[in-house]
């Protein structure tokens, strides 16, 4: 049983150029177009709708990064790539949960994507370390760091919103916070 989905699928180049141009609608259209395919794969292989969501978002991120890096070759189909990544991720998840029965019920053709999945796993580990380091950092350090390094706010803005009497104090505070964050980050195994 292999249901085809009749959702109007955007063309691959539309998506790729949309993402390169930071188009919000391109990601949305991509997401909506292929989610049913992945849901079908996961649901019919011992997974839940939530598993499907996790796996699918992970795969979208892999694809997103690949496109952003300019790695994505337009001759390979987006659909196949997404399916292959999800399949690979789900196999990994299943074997981690010891639920893998040795046979996956497939719905699409797929290609080898081990490298992409491994890179993603590595990055995920770094990010989760960063997340927990930031969590342990506490306020106001966390907000200062996020505002300055992630949201690109100027020291002047930060200084005002935190009520520092002068910019130097804020800079000193930011420096201390960064040093602590580095310490917390590299302490983790």
């Amino acid at each position: 049983m292999n249901k085809e989905f009749k959702t109007s699928t955007p063309t691959d180049s539309e998506i790729v150029f949309g993402i390169l141009n930071n188009s919000e609608s391109a990601i949305k259209r991509l997401y909506v177009a292929y989610f049913p395919m992945v849901l079908q794969l996961i649901i019919n292989n011992n997974g839940t709708a939530d598993d499907a969501k996790d796996i699918y978002q992970e795969a979208i991120i892999v694809l997103y990064n690949k496109i952003k890096k300019g790695d994505f070759e337009l001759n390979s189909k987006l659909k196949t790539f997404l399916y292959s990544v999800c399949r690979r991720l789900w196999l990994k998840r299943l074997s981690q949960m010891n639920r893998y029965g040795g046979d996956l019920h497939d719905f699409q053709e797929y290609s080898p994507v081990e490298d992409e999945v491994e890179d993603q796993a590595e990055r995920n580990m770094q990010f989760s370390k960063m997340q927990s380091a930031l969590g342990m950092l506490g306020e106001p350090c966390k907000t200062i760091i996020e505002d300055f390094y992630i949201h690109n706010r100027s020291m002047q803005d930060i200084c005002e919103s935190f009520g520092y009497t002068n910019a130097d104090n804020a800079k000193t505070q930011k420096y201390k916070c960064l040093q602590r964050l580095k310490k917390l980050f590299f302490q983790q195994k």
Binding site: E24, Y31, F35, L39, I43, N44, H105, I145, Y149
Partner: protein, 361 residues
């Protein structure tokens, strides 16, 4: 330079906030000072990762927002492979089904126990009854068989050939036609008193003569043979008759001796006008005085009222020819005719028990 200041410089450098001269000086400083260079790279990587982390969080939030808009439940219904309804039924209701089955089994066992069907002795009683009944039936049957055997009645399968024969000695020597017993597995003879097993003692195929001997244990012997055997040739136009078993009941047939020669001048046979049926073969041909003058032979096909009988002289010769080792004693033929002077009716009454139906299997 303090570490904090160095970091500020590095950040300005990385963010491109330096003017061309400052930048030149710093790059020179970086080349000369490996430690500073290391710090630049380290800081660049770390803040880069922070940036990527931020982007990732942002992307995840966007994806979650998109996901919110999808009706996952409806989609799930659509993509799931539904197992066949019986599997579905089992998955949905297996606990209920199990409970129901358990109750049913318990109920059956309880009913059996209460009604005593589980009691083994009951079954044994029934079996005993059955065995007893069977025993009774067997007893009845064997009684019936015993009675039947005593009465001399015999139940035999359908015979293959049938003919007639007649006694030549009181100890159960019987003459009949050879063609009757030619391919016999076993031979039985029957008269008004019973059915007896017989064996072929001697045969002369050339003359179509066979001599049987009753071997049956139930056979007690015949009385004195009432007729005699005529060696001399019979006379043309003499009245002759036969008595035999063309069917289940004996039949009397009357006629004349029409020729002293048989078919095509065959001197073995008489030609007679007595009506003959196939079962008459081997029967006696008697003259009016009660002398056996021949043995009835096959009927000539297509010629009505023309039949043949072997002349009795050949019978007498055959009796003489019986090998001595098949006999306990030499057969003594009757020489006293007790039929002479009696009416045919009386003659038949006297001789009927000496004429047998020959059954061949």
């Amino acid at each position: 330079m303090r570490d904090e200041q160095l970091l500020e410089v590095i950040e300005r450098y990385l963010n491109g906030e330096m003017n061309a001269d400052e930048r030149k000086v710093f790059e020179q400083f970086r080349i000369e000072n490996a430690e500073v260079d290391q710090r630049v790279i380290e800081h660049q990587q770390f803040t880069g990762m922070l940036k990527q982390y931020g982007e990732r969080v942002q992307l995840e939030n966007r994806l979650n927002a998109i996901h919110q808009e999808i009706d996952v439940h409806a989609l799930t219904e659509e993509v799931i492979i539904h197992p066949s309804w019986i599997v579905q039924l089992w998955r949905d209701h297996h606990s209920k089904i199990s409970v129901a089955a358990s109750i049913a089994i318990f109920a059956i066992l309880a009913t059996l126990f209460v009604t005593g069907k589980m009691d083994n002795n009951h079954g044994l009683e029934e079996l005993k009854g059955e065995v007893h009944k069977l025993g009774n039936t067997t007893n009845t049957l064997s009684k019936k068989v015993d009675a039947a055997l005593k009465n001399g009645a015999r139940v035999l399968p359908q015979d293959k050939y049938r003919g007639t024969g007649f006694a030549i000695t009181p100890n159960g020597m019987i003459v009949t036609a050879y063609h009757l017993i030619e391919r016999a597995d076993s031979v039985y003879v029957q008269n008004g008193t019973g059915v007896f097993k017989a064996k072929v003692l001697y045969s002369e195929p050339r003359h179509d003569i066979a001599i049987l001997k009753i071997t049956d244990t139930t056979f007690t012997g015949l009385g004195a043979i009432p007729y005699t055997f005529k060696r001399a040739e019979g006379d043309i136009a003499e009245t002759v008759y036969t008595y035999g078993y063309p069917q289940d009941s004996p039949r009397y047939g009357r006629g004349e001796l029409t020729s002293t020669n048989g078919l095509n001048g065959d001197t073995l046979d008489y030609e007679i006008s007595v009506p003959i049926n196939p079962g008459n073969s081997g029967g006696p041909l008697l003259d009016g005085k009660g002398n056996v003058i021949g043995i009835v032979k096959a009927r000539e096909n297509g010629l009505e009222g023309v039949n043949f009988a072997l002349k009795s002289s050949y019978l007498l010769n055959a009796i003489q020819n019986i090998p001595a080792d098949s006999l306990t004693k030499k057969p003594v033929l009757n020489t006293k005719n007790t039929l002479t002077g009696l009416s045919t009716v009386q003659q038949i009454k006297k001789l009927k028990n000496y004429v047998f139906m020959v059954k061949v299997y």
